[in-house]
Symmetry: none
Subunit: 302 residues, 2 copies
Amino acid sequence: MDIRALSVFLSVSDTLNFSRSGELLHMSVSAVSRTVRRIEEELGQPLLERDNRSVRLTSAGREFREYARHSLAEWQQLRRKLGNEDELAGEVSLYCSVTATYSVLAPILEAFRATHPAVEINMHTGDQADGIGRILEGRDDVAVSGRPSQMPRRMEFLPLLESPLQFCVPAADCAVRDMVEAAETSSGDIDWSGIPFIVPERGITKEMLDTWFREQGIRPRIYAQVAGHEAIVAMVSLGLGVGIAPQLVIEASGMTSRVRQVAVRDGLPPLVVGLCSLGLRLASPLLKSFWDVAGQTYGSSV
Amino acid sequence: MDIRALSVFLSVSDTLNFSRSGELLHMSVSAVSRTVRRIEEELGQPLLERDNRSVRLTSAGREFREYARHSLAEWQQLRRKLGNEDELAGEVSLYCSVTATYSVLAPILEAFRATHPAVEINMHTGDQADGIGRILEGRDDVAVSGRPSQMPRRMEFLPLLESPLQFCVPAADCAVRDMVEAAETSSGDIDWSGIPFIVPERGITKEMLDTWFREQGIRPRIYAQVAGHEAIVAMVSLGLGVGIAPQLVIEASGMTSRVRQVAVRDGLPPLVVGLCSLGLRLASPLLKSFWDVAGQTYGSSV
DNA sequence: TTAATTTCTTGCGTAAAACGCTATATTGGT
DNA sequence: ACCAATATAGCGTTTTACGCAAGAAATTAA
């Protein structure tokens, strides 16, 4: 049973004249006749009573006419619903840290919504270290992440901005701060060896920090391993240790008065923050569009 | 848009695997792929996001899935309303030899399909000797088989036709034919003792032949034991030995000019060919109906 | 790291389905 | 009695859908 057959039948049920319906439908009379005949065979009973001059609907035919009208109407409604080809609709599933929601994504989302009002954004938040994993698992379409040192082959990365990775120490008078001050050498460097560190549990920034420790020959005294830069900043502000976090996280945390960012000679390279997604997912017009808007929003100058 | 395309799409939306849906729908993977592609072209947008290993529904796809479910439900409701409620649907699983497919089953299937268009036939082919085993194991609903000498108690057998079991020898001039001719006695009998035999490996015809050898006091020189009468006929035609096969297999084999059927005094009784099924399975209205149609088709005069 | 496997797409040739043309039969109007 | 209108069915052609096979890509196994 197909839509065209329904249309043919509806026409015949209106005109009660195969020839007339053939004209209206731009089909031969025999084609109209056979189309209706096929419907009858599929249903197993006649829909029309015919002789060589006239046609009448049977009761089954009247029943079928109602069905055909309704079915066509639903088909047309579906077409209208799906049919705004030039207006992308659908969903984009995003993953990022709470901070990145407003510090990285907000301008992108503002621009995107202006041009794609029909798109629905599904936002999931958590440790930005999990973003790449979620993309690879197909749980989200796009994640905000630091650029990994080794990019999985099927992943695309759109760099948006750089954020310095800052060492931060408690601003308040506390044991940890005293230790940091005591560890400062005359040249301004800090001997970090004995100072309790609060480090990222996983992710790009953990790898960057591990690399830095190795390069500097520092064997840190790790006090805690924590998921999420925001939590690191919070713990440092409480005087529990020192840590690192992207500057944009520190600034967004509302704790800039409670942690002091420390400039370190030969410090960590800046974190390149951007969007990641599966290359294949970007074949989707919707995601491609989102990607493009993000690139345009930040200018892709990184 | 038609009902079958909707069904194909619904299956794919369930399995998210074209290969799996192809299996379930008894279609090739490429046909499934193309059917979905045609729907997408008709709607003007993708319903699935695909890569070479996986498939996901787009939001349009989810929308379409709802439409398809609803549309199919309405079609089925219409069917019920118009009185095909008592029309049996479902599947019948058949087992038979290749030859029996067209020589025994074809008229049954033609008649059955005319009256039961909604029933789906699953046909498995192989050595007819395996039919009864498969029925007893529950792997198939109905098998075409020779009538066994001892019927398992839970089995039913519907005799359809008799086919003479023919001795056949190579028609071409070859060593085996020379042996047969040399073995003919003045009264027309053949001393089979020294002639290489190609015998059925198993099944009713093997039992019938074994019984016959015993009754005739013949100790045959068995050259090969072969699964399937078709293969026996093929080997005889190649001059590898003599054999037996139901006449309908010989005639269907396309090798009637290459094997000679030999009339033998006190030869084998004819093979009663029919359907077998578990008695309990015949409680199913569907199988009962199939059984009845088979009986009517062949007139059950055997 | 390489090979094997799985999955989906597409070209190609074939089969099936749908079509238009034409002939036919029937009925009603003139 | 003749003509026109109507629907059906045979026939040949066109269109559509199919399975097979090859290919590409991703994942898994060795």
